[in-house]
């Protein structure tokens, strides 16, 4: 690969000057080439660093918990200390119920909040809501646990699945609000205007046209938020609390995968440690599954 002289150098002003210039050009060419390659390698390395934790975690979890991930683990209740075997069926179902409660509470609030930011209110109110949502996104999740503990648990005088779901919903609301806002902004205003010009009411335009157009994005936001809170432990510590048997109803302490993993991991029993690994594997699998669903949805959208 010899450097091609640029056209401006092909007509030398003098012989000496031309050769000097060409020499400098040649050196620069190689330096640039090396720097260029260096940056390429650096960015590839960075990409590997980004991807590798996921693979490492997955492999690690498989090797540590894979052997304990049996049918019994998925379908049995925990066994008392000392007995081997048993599973986390109640925690898996509990986690699903808690996330479902949180989604049911957070979706309408978050979506309507996002609609409000985009479609209603004056600029100051909108900015205030957006800022609030951003601050809420940054609130450490254990704060929500404490808040719900003092508001709900103390008043109901019992830990409960309801309180756990509520604590998770507080984390979901600002996430859903911001994604809803983002996808609504992507809906071209031409549709909004077309709807209004037809004599539709504003609420009808929002419901039947704007949200209908953005529905995949909204759903994606809801699922991503659900996946995010599925792994939350801190807000459940003193709300859902955990339970070694099935919760009969929502006003009872409820088991959740992250809680169960936490309890088992800090226990002194090797069998529980193995089960904690298996639980972590199931939790990661659930979150992974939700991400794949989100992926499929967004791919359909771009088609």
């Amino acid at each position: 690969m010899s450097p091609l002289p640029s056209p401006s150098h092909s007509k030398p002003h003098s012989q000496k000057e031309a050769s000097n210039e060409e020499g400098a050009d040649f050196r620069h060419f190689w330096i640039r080439k090396v720097v260029d390659r260096f940056f390429q390698i650096l960015s590839i390395l960075a990409a590997i660093v980004v991807i590798s934790p996921l693979l490492l975690v997955f492999v690690f979890l498989l090797s540590s918990g894979g052997s304990s991930l049996t049918w019994d683990f998925l379908t049995q209740l925990p066994k008392p200390v000392g007995e081997t075997g048993g599973g986390m069926a109640n925690a898996i179902v509990g986690s699903c119920i808690l996330v479902a409660i949180a989604t049911v509470i957070a979706t309408p609030v978050g979506v309507l909040g996002g609609v409000c930011v985009c479609e209603y209110g004056d600029a100051r109110l909108r900015a205030a809501i957006r800022f609030t949502a951003d601050v809420l996104n940054g609130v450490p999740s254990i704060i929500w646990g404490i808040v719900v503990y003092s508001w709900v648990v103390l008043r109901m005088k019992t830990f409960s699945g309801l309180a756990g779901g509520l604590a998770l919903s507080f984390i979901m609301i600002p996430l859903i609000l911001r994604t809803t806002e983002d996808v609504i902004r992507l809906v071209p205003s031409a549709y909004r205007e077309a709807g209004l010009a037809l004599g539709l009411r504003r609420s009808q335009v929002i419901l039947h046209i704007i949200l209908a157009t953005a529905r995949r994005g909204v759903l994606t936001g809801v699922l991503l938020a659900a996946a995010r809170v599925a792994g939350e432990t801190a807000p459940l510590l003193f709300t859902a609390f955990g339970n070694r048997v099935w919760a009969a109803h929502l006003q009872e302490p409820m088991a959740a995968l992250p809680l169960q993993i936490f309890t088992y991991a800090i226990s002194p029993y090797p069998d529980w440690h193995r089960q904690a690994w298996a639980g972590a594997l199931v939790l990661l699998g659930l979150v992974f599954f939700m991400s794949i669903v989100v992926r499929t949805l967004t791919r359909d959208r771009s088609r």
Binding site: A123, P188, A194, L196, L198, G199, L200
Partner: protein
């Protein structure tokens, strides 16, 4: 111009055979219309009568206020922060900016077609046409079907889509999409149709189709057609208004305005001696 004392009603339209467009009965009577966006005035006192059952062309260079004028006629400025409308606009004698008037009801009487076709992407052809009626509360199946065919026939789209009414509206070609948007606007049976450069994004064949459609619709509807395409106004409009920098320069029958304009600026614009 302001024959407000006689308060013309629609019944006057039968006597609308006079040669001068200003004398015929009017769909819109506009008096001293000003529109501001923030501190910038976009329209400086437009007074104009839009004749009934005719195509009125609005021509002028980009930024002369054609769209602004159209949007004042169906109160679409109300959603733009900082927009202010002053003056009086009457639709068949009723002041449309009266405090008691509901813009929703007005927009059902004054349909609008936009520059870029915008069928709702989540809806089928049928749903697109019927959404206005459906959300206005029409539940009667027979009536909806009847209106669907009526609107699509009027928009000259029926024969092309009658076998695939449930296909998504955005699968149609550009010209078909624009005709679908016209059908959508017609389905609620408006009295006036505002068209904001409806052909500017279309190829010549689709443009010719839409233009002939506009001429046909002009027999039954009062149409206001904004266009920067002089030929289009010449081909389709019965009378034409020339706007320049937010002012109405000249208004008259299209033939007169194009062949023998009374204003120097109009002549300059029509002959291209104008930037």
């Amino acid at each position: 111009m302001s024959e407000s004392a006689s308060d013309p009603k629609r019944t006057v339209s039968s006597s609308a055979e006079g040669a001068d467009p200003q004398r015929r009965s009017s769909a819109f009577q506009i008096e001293d219309l000003h529109v501001w966006f923030g501190n910038r005035a976009a329209l400086h006192g437009i007074s104009l009568n839009i004749p009934v059952h005719q195509v009125t062309g609005i021509i002028g260079p980009s930024g002369c206020g054609k769209s602004t004028f159209l949007r004042a006629l169906n109160r679409m400025h109300e959603f733009i922060p900082g927009a202010r409308v002053q003056g009086r606009i009457r639709l068949f004698g009723e002041d449309i900016y009266e405090a008691s008037g509901d813009p929703i009801l007005l927009r059902r009487r004054v349909g609008m077609v936009f520059q870029k076709s915008n069928p709702f992407p989540t809806m089928s052809i049928q749903e697109n046409v019927l959404i206005g009626l459906r959300l206005a509360g029409t539940r009667n199946r027979d009536l909806l079907e009847e209106r669907l065919e009526e609107a699509l026939r009027m928009a000259a789209l029926w024969s092309e889509v009658k076998d695939r009414l449930h296909a998504p509206g955005i699968e149609l070609s550009g010209g078909q999409q624009q005709r679908l948007c016209i059908a959508r606007a017609l389905a609620v049976r408006p009295e006036v149709l505002l068209m904001d450069e409806p052909c500017s994004a279309l190829d010549p064949i689709a443009t010719a189709q839409i233009e002939s459609l506009i001429r046909d619709l002009g027999q039954r509807y009062s149409i206001v057609l904004a266009t920067h395409n002089l030929q289009e106004a010449g081909r389709t409009a019965d009378c034409t208004a020339f706007f320049l920098e937010g002012r109405l320069i000249e208004f008259g029958s299209t033939k007169k305005l194009f062949t023998n304009p009374s204003q120097k600026q109009t002549e300059d614009y029509l002959t291209g001696r104008f930037t």
